[in-house]
């Protein structure tokens, strides 16, 4: 079934919620990798997590329907030409 994309209904986070999500994600990085990184390095993590969240949020605004498949495909022969 083909649906018509008229606009994305992906929930939009408020600025406050988005900032809270970013803080939690940086905390997760800290829990997993905290021993390896300095405070300066975590500043870089913070900046990049924020940029990544912003990019993902913009992609959430892009209208897609259920029949939009990813660009890659999986084949039963493992990708080996028949």
């Amino acid at each position: 079934m083909t649906e018509t994309a008229t606009g994305s209904s992906y929930p939009r986070l408020s600025d406050g919620s988005s900032a809270a999500v970013a803080r939690r994600l940086v905390e997760i990085v800290s829990l997993c990798h905290g021993e390896a990184l300095s405070a300066d390095q975590f500043d870089a993590v913070r900046v990049c997590v924020g940029a990544q969240l912003a990019a993902a949020e913009r992609l959430h605004r892009f209208p897609l329907t259920n029949d939009h498949e990813p660009i890659f495909t999986v084949t039963a022969n493992g990708g080996v030409p028949a």
């Binding site: 870089a44 990049c48 990544q52 897609l64 660009i71």
Partner: protein, 477 residues
């Protein structure tokens, strides 16, 4: 002919000299080895010289050509290999790990040997092909790469070594790699021709994986014509690379096209560019208008940058997950890398897949637009080379147009060629982007431009790489 003149001949010109016996593969190899050891090292472009193997292969090529065994246009032609691509008997450092070696060499290396080409050196790359993020040219075990046109400027990346050694006349061609512009952008900064062929044209087996759905290997040369000759030698299906296309590729044809093109100029693609970049681009458009139609087109309004950021963030983290998660990136030179890629650890899978779903929309819409033209055009970069020791910011207005990312994400072919000199006598470039599998159309168009404007005659001014006094058709540019 002196060595300096010999060093800047293109592949067809060298082929004539090799087959007439005016020069030998051994002589040509020695000239190139000398230039690599001199100017190549001064530009920090050389990682490992492979002199012994090169001299053996040169002697073999000499004997074969003398005996009438001709392997094609690359027979007896020296080349360099970006150091993320493996070759037997030499380290493959990925720009970061000096001791790393692989037993099995890359398919592209084998194909070039079969074509009679002579490997002289593994050449520099930004560490891990720049995939961890970097904001200073020093992010390589080879040191900051210098630009052949001005040694105080850099080459761009991540194919820094291939662009530097070709631009400096140290080898006639080199093999680079491109995930998000790593062939195109150094080509623009160094005045070389760089071809990012259709995704899957060239096997990636034996090359470092950075982003499986984006990575491509391709030629960096003195001219678009040379790019076609090299691509013909390295393209083709490969059971070792499941993304490789089943199609064969043929560049050499009896009558390549030189007129009757249809060009689309990407609207606004030089907004914010440096004045000389804009001027050279307009000059190129005027020349192209003599051999085809030129009309302005709008690229589909799609989130190219955001899709690229999410796809690259997820795939780079996955390709290097053990290294990144274990803190290996803190050992890299690039300060930016230390925190940059850890963001990928908290990127949801559904966001990555959403990006790849939007990417299909991009490929469909951009492919439909590109198929209406022989080539879509824009400046390769809006700026000329920045300082060799300076931090840089890629997203400066005008530095990047959307055409690069549209081609990156669509897997379609793009070639960048020199189209003049800009500020401080540094090269500017124009990119020709085509639809899937239309390498011959974009190469023919680029060759036609080069032929009409004489830009392949431009040279860096001497081994120390100070540009500005090169001549085209008798006039100082």
């Amino acid at each position: 002919m002196n060595e300096e003149e010999l060093a800047f001949l293109n592949i067809r010109e060298l082929g004539i000299l090799l087959r007439s016996g005016e020069i030998s593969p051994t002589k040509l190899t020695e000239v190139c080895l000398g230039r690599l050891d001199d100017v190549g090292r001064r530009l920090n472009a050389v990682v490992t010289m492979t002199e012994d193997v090169a001299r053996r292969e040169a002697a073999l090529a000499e004997a074969e050509l003398r005996a009438g065994l001709d392997r094609g246009p690359l027979h007896g032609i020296p080349y360099g290999l970006k150091d993320i691509i493996s070759a037997a008997g030499a380290p493959t450092t990925w720009g970061a790990f000096p001791e790393q070696r692989f037993d099995q060499e890359a398919t592209v290396t084998r194909k070039l040997r079969d074509a009679g080409a002579i490997l002289l050196a593994k050449v520099a790359t930004i560490e891990l092909a720049g995939g961890m993020g970097y904001d200073n040219p020093n992010a390589s075990i080879s040191g900051p790469p210098g630009n052949p046109w001005h040694s105080g400027k850099w080459t761009n990346g991540s194919s820094s070594g291939p662009s530097a050694v070709v631009g400096a006349g140290a080898v006639p061609f080199a093999i680079g790699s491109d995930t998000a512009g790593s062939i195109l952008l150094p080509a623009a900064f160094t005045g070389t021709a760089g071809l990012r062929a259709t995704y899957g044209r060239v096997s990636r087996a034996g090359a470092m994986a950075l982003c499986w759905t984006l990575d491509r290997l391709g030629p960096m040369c003195r001219s678009a014509d040379d790019c076609g000759l090299v691509l013909e030698a390295i393209a083709g299906p490969d059971p070792r690379d499941r993304s490789s296309l089943p199609d064969s590729y043929r560049y050499r044809r009896p009558q390549p096209r030189r007129v009757g093109f249809r060009f689309g100029v990407v609207a606004g693609s030089w907004d914010g560019a440096e004045p000389e970049v804009s001027a050279n681009f307009r000059t190129s458009l005027a020349a192209l208008a003599e051999i085809g139609t030129v009309e302005e087109v709008d690229l589909p309004d799609l989130p190219y940058d955001d899709v690229a950021e999410v796809v690259i963030g997820a795939e780079v983290y996955a390709a290097f997950d053990e290294f990144i998660a274990a803190g290996g990136i803190t050992g890299l030179t690039a300060v930016k890398a230390w925190g940059h890629r850890l963001a990928g650890a908290v990127l949801p899978a559904h966001d990555y897949i959403r990006a790849q779903r939007i990417r299909r929309v991009i490929a469909d819409e951009f492919g439909a637009l590109a198929s209406r033209y022989d080539a879509l055009l824009s400046p390769s970069l809006g700026v000329v080379a920045s300082g060799r020791e300076e931090d840089f910011e890629y997203m400066l207005p005008g530095a990047f147009g959307p055409l690069n990312f549209a081609g990156v994400l669509s897997g379609t072919p793009t070639v960048s060629v020199l189209n003049g000199l800009g500020r401080d006598g540094l090269p500017t470039g124009i990119q020709f982007a085509g639809a899937r599998l239309t390498e011959n159309a974009i190469l023919d168009a680029a060759v036609a431009l080069e032929t009409r404007t004489g830009t392949t005659a431009l040279r860096p001014d001497g081994p120390h790489g100070v540009a500005a006094t090169a001549r085209v058709n008798g006039q100082v540019v």
